[in-house]
Symmetry: C2
């Protein structure tokens, strides 16, 4: 099991005491506490990293979706995006509980990923309702596919948690339906939204590379270190699924 | 029972078919569908109004709190405000279910209150983290006191729902603690935040008057029509509780 190998490889250091994680505007000059291990004695640092990344991912997704709900053109749309946001927060709480069970400080586990995820969202702030729908649908699903690839390498218990948090909450159909309808009534929209989706993927990859470079244990969980062929395969699978989703939206990838 | 009297007084008209409520920027010139009854045959229009107002209140509170969470100075603060926001959304869903049970369209029930509540929030957008905390604490509690006054006049079943939705979810202590700490470390803050709270109360009263003028059934539930003395007593009770909360924050009312 790869998880065990990585856990054995990475030594656990004494956990630094940080009472509160202060949130400045992240910049390229402030890499944050990336090198600081968040896992206490006995906890698998790769799993702790994965849960910390997932937790902060859900927390920020919640925040951004709830913010984007303000752009909703109808009450029904506003409720639907609010429901998606609330589901993300419930997932965040589930992961927080699991980290607590493992004896890991939630904030400390999330800290290494604050800068990259905040940068991603700041660089991809939707300018209108359709952009926010495409972001919620395309962005969340690429992230979910990525987490699923990792989950397959976890022990059964954490794997079940990760998969439950990633389970489609039935909201995807809503985004697909709304975007298709918008394109049907205004075909010019398709080009702009396709470009927008491409930008989302580009920014996501940029930030993913930043995280991968900083977090050896997490990267090791995804593939054997230096196993470029395996990483390429994973990447191809994720991009193939992305192209299918773009087609479902009526957009060219 | 006052509720029954009001229900008897207000005739139910055929419910207009509105498939989606479009959300424009509310202006003084667009009073919205305020005069349109949202209650179907048999449903008490005052109760439907109250639930519609509560539902949209919770939905917008959710949205604003989740938005304000972006201003949180620490991850712990961000999580706490996110938790408050998620609790508001759960309340919104509970009210939505009750309206559904009564055979009332949720959007139609909320529609008469969209303009006033949106105006309130637009006119009281917090400019920093402390303002957002004071707004969450002061604003939510004044609204809760107001709903509690009304709930006392409802039949037992809807009363239990309204009171459960208003139950303090334990988050108030968080806001009080944070605001007190900020004032302790910077006493100048107290004057600015006291003014801010006064502005919140003023805007809330302005919008409440707008709603009261439009919605006879709801106003009738609060007090006998024209019973100014009773309305003054309710107002005094709510303001007394508000002054106690301001003192708890370390602010003069």
């Amino acid at each position: 099991m790869r998880t065990g190998a990585i856990a054995g490889k990475c030594q656990n250091h004494a956990v630094a005491q940080t009472s509160q994680t202060h949130l400045g505007t992240p910049t390229a000059d402030s890499p944050g506490p990336a090198g600081e291990p968040a896992a206490p004695e006995g906890a698998d640092p790769a799993l702790v990293d994965l849960l910390g990344l997932l937790a902060f991912g859900e927390l920020t997704a919640f925040e951004r979706m709830a913010t984007d709900a303000r752009m909703a053109p109808t009450l029904a749309d506003k409720i639907e995006l609010g429901r998606m946001a609330a589901a993300e927060f419930a997932h965040f709480e589930a992961i927080g509980n699991e980290l607590h069970r493992l004896g890991v400080d939630l904030e400390q586990a999330m800290a290494p990923f604050v800068s990259a995820l905040t940068a991603f969202h700041n660089l991809t702030a939707p300018s209108d309702w359709l952009e926010s729908l495409v972001k919620a649908y395309v962005g969340d699903n690429i992230a979910a596919d990525f987490y699923r690839e990792i989950a397959g390498r976890l022990e059964p218990e954490p794997r079940a948690l990760v998969l439950s948090v990633l389970a489609d909450t039935g909201h995807a159909a809503f985004a697909v339906e709304r975007v298709r309808a918008a394109i049907a009534s205004n075909p010019v929209m398709a080009g702009r939204l396709a470009l927008w989706a491409r930008r989302l993927v580009g920014e996501a990859l940029t930030q993913a590379q930043r995280v991968a470079a900083d977090r050896d244990a997490l990267t090791g969980l995804l593939a054997g270190v230096g196993d470029l062929e395996e990483i390429a395969e994973i990447f191809n699978r994720i991009m193939a699924a992305h192209r299918q989703r773009m087609a479902a939206l009526g957009l060219s990838a």
